[in-house]
């Protein structure tokens, strides 16, 4: 069995890593990083490490960097594993037992997400993987792939979380009121301002619209300019 894996590993090493897409989808990212980990299944190793099923379900304490691989990240990793069929359908991995595949994917996801969260540098990750008894070549391959996708991963992680409604754009309309059914000869200019907003959860949200007079709009713009000025001052500190 090990022989088969090693042979398969030889093939995979020459395969191109695949293009990194700017809006790196989590599953693709993790799959690319998973492959070198998969090839280093240390199933016969005595020291329990994260790639052992028992370790990552929390039944056996992980030695070495135990604090890093916490169950908190396991939840997040689970979320990113998304659909099992995604992994199971990949033609490169069809020779491997599906259960093993799932475990390894989850383990790799945990490792990657934790490294990303802590903004770990390559040396820290290497040391960590050495403790997991991975050989130099695998570690190097993992680290290279990680380095390539590090920025995309950080952007992805940074975008997770709650925030108030986020303004993305503004549109305005200037009108001159002449009359309405209650009052004629009103003759007043007024602005209608619409703020396009986005929700961190669902992505869209009804826009915030309001009307204002010229003086009120001047007040609003003045306040926004104050905010911008203090931002500028803060960056110069």
């Amino acid at each position: 069995w090990e022989g088969d894996v090693k042979a398969a590993g030889a093939q995979r090493r020459t395969a191109p890593p695949g293009t990194a897409c700017p809006s790196a989808s989590a599953p693709r990212l993790l799959l690319r990083l998973l492959i070198p980990c998969l090839l280093a299944l240390p199933f016969h190793s005595e020291t329990p490490n994260v790639f052992h099923f028992k370790v990552f379900v929390g039944k056996v304490a992980f030695k070495g960097r135990a604090a890093v691989f916490s169950t908190v990240c396991w939840g997040l990793a689970n979320k990113c594993v998304i659909s099992n069929s995604f992994i199971l359908d990949d033609p490169d991995l069809k020779d491997i037992d599906p259960t093993v595949l799932k475990h390894c994917h989850a383990a790799a996801a945990t490792c990657i997400l934790e490294a990303g969260k802590q903004k770990a540098d390559i040396s820290a990750i290497s040391t960590c993987l050495e403790d997991c008894k991975l050989d130099k070549e695998r570690i190097e391959q993992f680290c290279t792939e990680y380095q390539k996708n590090k920025d995309a991963l950080e952007i992805l992680l940074g975008s997770i979380g709650r925030s108030p409604l986020h303004i993305t754009d503004v549109s305005w309309r200037l009108e001159y009121q002449i009359k309405n059914n209650q009052l004629h000869k009103t003759y007043q200019p007024s602005y209608l301002v619409t703020l396009n907003v986005e929700n961190s959860d669902s992505g869209s949200h009804p826009d915030v619209s309001f009307s204002c007079t010229m003086e009120q709009l001047q007040d609003l713009v003045g306040k926004l300019k104050d905010a911008a000025k203090s931002l500028e001052r803060a960056t110069q500190m």
Partner: protein, 155 residues
């Protein structure tokens, strides 16, 4: 006496009288008709000159207030009241540590039909500058010749 005078007139008559006065004043104020037009309009009712004079005075004294009340009845969108702002920097979150993410958090106070609402919004520095640029353009429009001409000609 006054009381007897009123008691001798039926409720309906008083009602009609009040309705008539209200209608006269609101319509005149709504249309913002001139003194001359007002006088001409009530002339057909055949009242005494003294009464016509009082009515005209009543109209002139109250039309500004009536107009402002009528203005409140018009369909309105929530209107701007004020804006509070605050500068924040996100340093870390559950999913990512060691961040430096600046943001401007704002509280927008709006008036809607006598209620005041406050909405908390946030934006990033780049969008803030974009907002300022767009809204300054909006303000600039009023000073353009096109708008000035229309305002001048529609008085």
């Amino acid at each position: 006496s006054m009381r007897n005078y009123f008691l001798n007139i039926g409720i309906d008559t008083i009602q009609h009288g009040v309705d008539g006065l209200v209608y006269l004043l609101t319509e005149s104020s709504k249309l913002m008709i001139s003194e001359v037009d007002f006088q001409d309009s009530i002339h057909v009712l055949g009242f005494s000159d003294e009464l016509n004079k009082s009515l005209l005075q009543l109209y002139l004294d109250n039309r500004k207030e009536i107009r402002s009340i009528l203005g409140e009845l018009a369909p309105r969108l929530p209107s701007y009241h004020s804006l509070e702002w605050r500068l924040d920097v996100q340093l870390a979150s559950r999913s990512l540590r060691q961040q430096i993410k600046p943001a401007v958090t704002m509280k927008l106070h709006l008036n809607q039909n006598e209620d005041q609402t406050a909405q908390v919004l946030q934006t990033d520095p780049a969008t803030l500058l974009h907002l300022i640029q767009q809204l300054e353009q909006a303000l600039g429009e009023m000073k353009m010749n096109h708008c000035r001409r229309i305002v001048r000609n529609m008085k």
